[in-house]
Symmetry: C2
Subunit: 333 residues, 2 copies
């Protein structure tokens, strides 16, 4: 009998990405559905199960070909109880029973983890960290998330909150964060953080000509993408904003690296589409602040899997159901 397959689910506030994968992490089929957050998010779990079942029918697969399912989700996860809460973008503020709904709907076992953690696992298994055992993954989107893998193991910490890189304080007394404290990296290096910095720096910008300054003065819409685009095209203010963003990001990454000494720091998420415009100054500030032996052994690089990272990493969680495997951990390579 051929090796069994995995199902990876990457649950997001707007879309849910799903994939059938080989045990190696290779995607053999992928698709996405809109995440329906109406009615307190009560449709989300049934919709996922329904969609997996119909995709199996469509692709001539049966559930006995699969080992199990893994899912990355926002919020706080309790795998034992099968619940998720505090996922406000899903309207799952209160505790929602998720695991048993999807398990019963599909007829396969499910294991869940934090969305940033599964993206880290994806890059670790098949992406920018595929040759490494110690990686730090940071995702720059609407917020800033992170996942840390040391000696081949995804860290959870005593309460499941390891990897919260977005809430490292990079500026004491700085911007107020949604978490209630000030100066979190998330407020400086997320897409919204970039816009916030652009707005503040535009107010003080008086010398020179800048398209970004013009946009701000006219109260036109400024996005993180526009800031990086303008920086790429030589806009002086946009370059100052990008430099500020990269300074804080490089500083936070050096903090984490001084503690973990990873071989790779991998930057993913929408903001990382800025490519070298983001990577180059971030690397410079990282190197300026990292302990020299760490600086010399830790690379900063861009994620490679894009939107597939989550589903690939989520699928790898299901390796845990592989009783025949000699692997001690679900994420051993």
């Amino acid at each position: 009998m051929a090796d069994k397959l995995l199902i990876g689910i990457d649950l997001g506030g707007t879309t849910t990405k799903m994939a059938f994968l080989e045990k190696s992490g290779k995607i053999i089929d992928k698709w996405r559905i809109k995440t329906d957050t109406s009615d307190n998010g009560n449709h989300i779990a049934p919709n996922i199960a329904k969609s997996i079942n119909s995709e199996m029918t469509k692709t001539n697969h049966t559930k006995d070909e699969f080992l199990g399912m893994g899912m990355g989700t926002p919020g706080t996860i309790d795998n034992k109880a099968g619940t998720v809460y505090g996922a406000y973008n899903l309207n799952w503020g209160d505790k929602h029973q998720v695991k048993s709904v999807i398990e019963k709907g599909v007829g396969l076992p499910l294991i869940m983890d934090n969305d940033a953690n599964v993206a880290a696992l994806g890059e670790f298994r098949r992406g920018a960290g595929s040759k490494d055992q110690d990686i730090v993954f940071v995702t720059l989107g609407t917020g800033v998330g992170g996942g840390i893998i040391t000696e081949g193991h995804l860290l959870h910490g005593c309460n499941g909150d390891a990897g919260e890189i977005g809430h490292i304080c990079v500026k004491p007394g700085g911007y107020m964060c949604t978490c209630g404290k000030r100066g979190c990296l998330e407020q400086y290096a997320s897409a919204t953080g970039v816009v916030h910095i652009a707005h503040d720096m535009a107010e003080k910008f008086t010398t020179g000509k800048s398209r970004l300054k013009q946009l701000e003065d006219k109260h036109q819409k400024v996005t993180s993408k526009i800031v990086f685009y303008l920086a790429d095209n030589g806009d002086i203010l946009a370059n100052q904003v990008v430099d500020r963003v990269c300074f804080y990001l490089g500083l936070a990454l050096s903090d984490v690296a001084n503690a973990f000494n990873p071989s790779n720091i991998i930057i993913g998420g929408g903001v990382s589409n800025a490519g070298n415009t983001l990577l180059q100054p971030t690397t410079r500030y990282f190197q300026e602040n990292a302990f020299p032996p760490v600086r010399d052994s830790t690379k900063v690089q861009l994620a490679q899997l894009g939107n597939d990272a989550g589903a690939i990493g989520a699928g790898s969680l299901a390796l845990k159901f592989d009783k025949s495997s000699k692997n001690k951990s679900s994420w051993d390579k």
Copy 2:
């Protein structure tokens, strides 16, 4: 036959502390010798072997009662080659063959690790972290060292430099550090850092009466111990200095905790003898800067083993030689 015993060696620049231990980490005999760093530190390894042999004779032990030896040492360690280098306080700047000298001298196998790492292991096994699986240990002495244990495993990182908490940047562009970069925690929270801050703050101190200010003005010797003593006794400047030290320490610890979510952060080393005068404000600044779920699940506390932590932790390294053990890792509890 009774369970075999362990030998723990805590090699420091001034003294070398050694112990015979049970496998549980319980000390059954401990002693210390002066570390003779003369002749490029060439006497250090032979002296350790000699001292262990004579202690065995003195206490009626034979080497076949022991499983092996573990040693904590400053510097950069290569266990495979058996060498240490970059331990300048031992005059081991260049590569020194250490392992084979001690192994041949005693007739037992030796495993080495970083001095802060073995102190972390000691507190993890028998001290303030003995009930936990995820701890961060920071030692505030002449410098600042650290060791991190997650899910029961001591972290080394890709290059053996994990746990370098002392080189987390707490003040961009701040005090110059011996490592070549600026603003490292070590320059603010080590004994020398405390003195440096006291000196700088005394210069700017103009209002109020302060014994610390008087000492500084008269160029009298100020130590970290004096600063904490004066703070304890209500000296206004000394309290400001302690507050500054604790701010930077609390900030760095929150960075590490946001990444690891340890159950315990344990503060050891000479400066930690200041007790609550150090702990209370550090905890406050930690809590101010930690991600709320991390803040609520991570305790900051003082080390419990004092000078014994190193030898206990070093001894636990030798559990690795226990072929009969079901423990997968040398530091499983």
